[in-house]
């Protein structure tokens, strides 16, 4: 998280460092895998659907974090690529008679291609104006999907996608989506641990310095944007299979808020953050909207509390708690913020973040 840490510390900020033993990647992911495989046997059928949505959110948010946590870009168009992925499945089934499995393969390709093309335009701007340009581009894609009724069935959306029989039973669908989610997260994990990922983080830390070092910043940003879009499309394809349909609201800018919140809750500075966030947000939202009439107030206040008191996300909070418990050194990221408001800019200014 942003703060006044020393350069040495900041350089050491890697998902795998300063992590308690049980949270070290291999242990953590193994535990997550065991839980994910066992979970549907421990809950009722309705909750399996909630879990499926959690899987989709996890991929969606992790793809977003390629932009946000790794490269420092805030995009409001991310939902558009998610929606395009979902429509890739439903439209190819509707117009071409493709199997949803084939459509699922198309989803990241279509979203990635669109991400590349729109990324070329959006990356003409930087930081805040980049964020706002993505808002305009995203809304444009939403309007097209909404208006092009003969092709997309407009606002009614496309529902009732026919799945292969094997995906009919809820459990089978869950495990299929789990497989897709695991695959996507594994690929993104490898990419972010590669030199490519390291370069992206160098750009986030200091864009200018990265430029001086000879890194072709724009090219890397475009690559990150394209990769993020492709996996947003992947998540969208999963959604289409989950819900057996797609509709224009999936592309709306307010849908982009979801992966942002998820990432924020989990923590954007670790690769696992969005996955943890997806579990918390998915379950929280299910509980709040089921039980509260004025769910917006409750959800808003919970989120506000998190932002105010746990700005590093749950993962960092857990690390800090662990550190205090074991008496070890606190994790990177100083909880105390500089006191003078706004003016003292933290070094890792998000490129899309304001200012």
């Amino acid at each position: 998280m942003s703060t006044t840490t020393t350069p040495t510390r900041r350089r050491s900020r890697r998902p795998s460092l300063a992590t308690p033993d049980w949270m070290r990647p291999r242990t953590g992911w193994t535990a997550a895998a065991v839980i994910a495989v066992a979970a549907p046997w421990l809950v009722d059928e309705r909750q399996v659907f909630v879990l499926m949505m959690v899987l989709i959110l996890a991929v969606f948010a992790t793809s977003y974090n390629i932009l946000l946590g790794n490269t420092g870009m805030v995009s409001f168009a991310h939902a558009s690529y998610y929606g395009v992925g979902a429509y890739a499945v439903t439209l190819s089934a509707l117009h071409l008679g493709w199997s949803p499995l084939l459509g699922m393969a198309l989803a990241p390709v279509a979203a990635g291609a669109l991400g590349y093309l729109t990324g070329l335009v959006a990356l003409r701007a930087t930081r805040l104006y980049f964020a706002l340009l993505t808002l305009a581009i995203g809304q444009l894609m939403y309007v097209v999907m909404f208006q092009w009724r003969t092709f997309t069935r407009g606002d009614d959306g496309i529902h009732g996608l026919r799945l292969p029989d094997v995906l009919g039973p809820t459990l089978n669908r869950y495990y299929f989506l789990l497989l897709l989610a695991a695959l996507a997260i594994a690929i993104m994990g490898v990419a972010m641990r590669s030199p490519f990922g390291a370069t992206l983080r160098a750009i986030r830390e200091n864009r200018d310095r990265a430029g001086f070092l000879g890194i072709k910043v724009k090219r890397y940003e475009l690559a990150a944007f394209t990769l993020g879009s492709a996996f947003a499309g992947w998540a969208g394809g999963m959604y289409a299979i989950f819900d057996r349909g797609s509709f224009p609201l999936l592309l709306h800018w307010t849908t982009s808020a979801e992966p942002i919140f998820v990432t924020l809750i989990g923590g954007m500075n670790s690769f696992a953050g969005p996955v943890v966030g997806a579990v918390i947000f998915g379950l929280l939202r299910d509980y709040v909207t089921r039980n509260f009439v004025y769910w917006g107030v409750v959800l808003g206040l919970v989120l506000l509390t998190l932002i105010l008191f746990l700005p590093g996300g749950t993962v960092e909070g857990l690390k800090r708690l662990w550190a205090r418990f074991t008496g070890g050194p606190p994790p990177e990221g100083d909880p105390a913020a500089p006191d003078h408001p706004g003016v003292d800019e933290p070094a890792p200014a998000s490129r899309g973040g304001v200012r």
């Binding site: 009722d44 059928e45 309705r46 659907f49 909630v50 949505m53 909404f146 208006q147 009724r149 069935r153 407009g154 606002d155 009614d156 959306g157 529902h159 009732g160 959604y239 819900d243 057996r244 349909g245 509709f247 609201l249 999936l250 299910d286 909207t289 089921r290 039980n291 509260f292 009439v293 004025y294 769910w295 917006g296 107030v297 409750v298 206040l301």
Partner: protein
């Protein structure tokens, strides 16, 4: 008597509004209030979602005068997923009130199959994925026997999929896309609302006889508005070859400023304008159009429903305007008169179309269950085909091929009602469903054989 109740309500309303000023307190308080409607009282969801300051009286206090045997046993459950937030929330609240009244009356007269009936209402936020999730939730966790709702067609299409997958009856009473009967038909779905095709055709056929040839349209820019306008245009131009469509406008749903659209319409100099705008949009349109001298220049016809008319009061002169309605409370029969009385008792206002049709949906389900002798879903499907139920629109037949109730479309002229203080429909003409719905051959053809 009614005046005093209204005054009392206004008084509490005013106090509440003063409180609105203290927002800091409000935030904390609203969280608490939400808490009160929380998990502890799932069955009370029906009452808990009443908007503050409105419709304060509780329906079931008026309905316990029943003399029949008290129902006993496990309650039968009706799940309603409708929009209680967002710009179409008004309809969702009316849906809830209408259905709740039906449930209270059923319980007062011995329940259904001798068992009590319970209504569980959830907010779909007008989002299809929420609607589908809620429908699934209502079936899997609450064990509902039938699904009701929603307002939005996109949500309805998502719910109908869940209904088919889970084999639970789904009665649509507000969302009316004809895709439910055609492309996406499934046997557990029944519709008690005239679908987009029927509604627009009824109006096209009716208005083709009017002496106007230069027509323009203005409709909300989404599936319903587009579909309805297209069917209207196709119908009226087929019925009357003199008719010419000279301008079409499609503002966004919820557009706050319709004046540029209105002036664009005026500039094209039409004789008459057809509009499927509704609710808040129609109120906005009427006000802004009046200021621009629109009503003096063109003949206007639209879906003026009770909520909009109630809000407009006498602000704009609408005397004699030709409007159409799905289920106006001025229908002249015993069932409707009783319903309006009961609704006024409970909510201190007359019911809107959306309350009436939700009431009908509950009554249809109850009558089918009684006729079948069971709440079983497959028995419901078997019984509902070619079933006739008695609702607020009289004896209504359900067609086998697409499970569309043969509900008429209502066309009338607006006239000011001094007692109520707003415009209501008179000279209601009914266009029978049989004259306007898709023929069975057309349905088969559109489904792709």
């Amino acid at each position: 008597m009614r005046m005093t109740r209204r005054d009392a309500r206004r008084h509490t309303g005013a106090r509440r509004r003063v409180a609105a000023a203290l927002l800091a307190a409000a935030l904390a308080a609203s969280a608490c209030a939400a808490d009160g409607d929380g998990p502890g009282s799932p069955g009370a969801a029906g009452d808990g979602t009443e908007p503050a300051g409105e419709d304060g009286a509780d329906a079931d206090t008026d309905a316990d005068a029943g003399t029949a045997d008290a129902p006993e046993g496990d309650p039968l459950r009706i799940g309603m997923a409708t929009s209680l937030s967002g710009s179409i929330a008004l309809f969702g609240v009316a849906n809830q009130n209408g259905a709740q009244l039906a449930v209270d009356q059923l319980n007062a007269s011995g329940g259904v199959l001798g068992r009590p009936v319970e209504l569980i209402v959830r907010d779909d936020q007008a989002r299809p994925e929420e609607g589908a999730a809620l429908a699934r939730d209502l079936i899997l966790s609450e064990g509902v026997d039938v699904l009701l709702g929603p307002v939005s067609s996109g949500v309805a299409l998502a719910i109908t999929e869940v209904s088919e997958e889970r084999k639970v009856p789904f009665i649509t009473h507000t969302a009316n896309t004809s895709a439910l009967m055609v492309e996406q038909f499934q046997p557990y779905m029944v519709s008690v609302v005239p679908n987009t095709y029927m509604e627009a055709r009824a109006q096209g056929v009716d208005l083709a006889d009017e002496p106007y040839t230069r027509w323009a349209t203005i409709a909300p820019n989404y599936e319903f508005g587009q579909r309805q306008t297209q069917t209207f245009v196709d119908t009226i131009t087929a019925e009357n070859d003199q008719v010419e469509i000279i301008a079409q406008q499609f503002p966004e749903l919820g557009e706050a400023d319709l004046r540029p659209f209105i002036t664009a319409l005026i500039s094209s100099d039409p004789e008459a304008v057809y509009s499927p705008l509704f609710a808040g949009d129609l109120i906005t349109f009427t006000r802004q159009a009046a200021d621009l001298g629109f009503f003096e220049q063109v003949e206007f016809t639209a879906l003026y429903e009770t909520d909009a008319l109630e809000e407009l009061r006498d602000e704009v002169d609408l005397e004699g305007v030709r409007g159409y309605s799905r289920c106006p409370f001025t229908i002249d029969n015993d069932q409707m008169r009783d319903f309006v009385d009961a609704y006024q008792q409970a909510h201190d206002r007359v019911p809107s179309d959306w309350a009436c049709m939700a009431y009908d949906a509950v009554m249809l389900w109850a009558q089918v269950a009684e006729a079948a002798g069971t709440e079983d879903a497959d028995a419901f499907v078997e019984t509902v085909e070619d079933f006739s139920f008695t609702g607020l629109r009289g004896e209504t037949h359900i067609r086998g091929i697409d499970h569309q109730a043969a509900v008429p479309s209502y066309i009338g002229r607006l006239t000011f009602d001094d007692e109520l203080g707003f415009y209501v429909y008179t000279d209601l003409q009914t266009v029978p469903a049989e004259d306007i719905w898709l023929s069975e051959d057309e349905v088969t053809e559109l489904r792709g054989g």
